[in-house]
């Protein structure tokens, strides 16, 4: 069974620690070149097509800013 996923990052609350980037098994996530109002390079889906919605990013996120969605395909 295959899954397709997507994440929504609360970019204003993201502190750009990069733990989600390091723990993403499909290299979906990267830190943005832009910064949020606190000056952090927030996380975003650089390669949304890769996302399987595994939830690893949200699991390790210390600030709980990632919401994960997933569908079976």
């Amino acid at each position: 069974m295959a899954f397709k996923g997507a994440i929504v990052v609360d970019t204003e609350k993201c502190k750009g620690c990069g733990l989600c980037v390091a723990n993403c098994p499909t290299q979906t996530i990267a830190l943005a070149k832009k910064v949020n109002s606190k000056g952090y390079n927030y996380a975003y889906m650089e390669h949304p097509d890769n996302c399987t919605g595994c939830g690893n990013c949200a699991t390790v996120c210390p600030d709980t800013v990632i919401t994960v969605y997933r569908v079976k395909i």
Binding site: G5, A6, L19, A22, V60, P62, V68, V71, I73
Partner: protein
């Protein structure tokens, strides 16, 4: 498939726990405290005990834990959380009471309180964050600081002759008759986070079954005071902390 077709309520697989508040945590980027707070909130939500849980926050970085988890909280004096938890649990035996403490709070200034609460077998949960350094005060030596580790008060590295040895308080706690569950966990990757959550859930369930004290150590990072970026800090922890503070259950009965 279009992203907007995926991002729909019916496809939600991981969202923020309702037990967490919307307040942005004051912790540094990548801090382990945030993950542990999240796990606590999730366990409280999943066990449906938000109305029955009373938390005791320490002195140290987690002093403001009460801002982030929406339950009733008491903020203790440095090291004294187990004493507050003892009275609270004895006066409200049907509540879930946990003390959340760092290494300086629990293993240095509050050593007497934690040893005796555990030895009495208080039916409480203790969450012990061990990042081997004092975070809030700016990176001084903790009782759990590793030999050779540089801190603000061991600028040339901790030396046993000068500073004594790092304290394996969790192994000590496991020796006490009053404890029923003593475990050491970490939260640096998805697998460890899931294990840590299971440990926390078990600890709360033990407290309802009046089995004694459950003690969950989380080996953690302090990026700012270790002076490392979060990912490097996790790696340093795996390479240096885990050999001295090995993960896993130390006691389970």
């Amino acid at each position: 498939m279009d992203i907007n077709e995926i991002i729909k309520p019916e496809n939600l697989v991981y969202g923020k726990s309702k037990v967490l508040t919307d307040t942005v945590m004051h912790y540094c980027p990548g801090c382990s405290h945030g993950v542990v707070h999240k796990l606590l909130a999730e366990v409280i939500e999943e066990m449906d005990i938000q109305d029955k849980t009373i938390g005791i926050s320490p002195v140290g970085c987690a002093v403001f834990a009460y801002k982030y988890i929406n339950i009733d909280w008491q903020q203790a004096a440095h090291g004294r959380a187990p004493a507050l938890a003892t009275a609270t649990k004895r006066l409200y035996p049907d509540k879930y009471v946990f003390a959340y403490q760092g290494d300086g709070d629990l293993a240095s200034i509050g050593t007497a309180e934690i040893i005796h609460a555990c030895n009495r077998g208080e039916n409480i949960v203790v969450i012990f964050i061990n990042n081997a350094i004092y975070g809030m005060t700016g990176g001084q030596m903790a009782p759990t600081t590793l030999l050779g580790m540089k801190t603000a008060t061991t600028p040339y590295g901790r030396k046993a002759e000068l500073n004594g040895y790092p304290l394996k308080i969790t192994e000590l706690i496991a020796q006490l008759e009053g404890t029923c569950y003593v475990t050491r966990q970490s939260v640096q990757n998805p697998g460890s986070v899931r294990k840590a959550k299971k440990a926390l859930r078990k600890a709360f369930e033990n407290s309802a079954q009046k089995k004694g004290t459950s003690f969950v150590e989380i080996v953690a990072t302090c990026n700012s005071n270790w002076k490392m970026p979060p990912i490097k800090a996790n790696k340093w922890m795996e390479e240096n902390m885990f050999p001295f503070y090995p993960l896993g259950d130390i006691k389970d009965r």
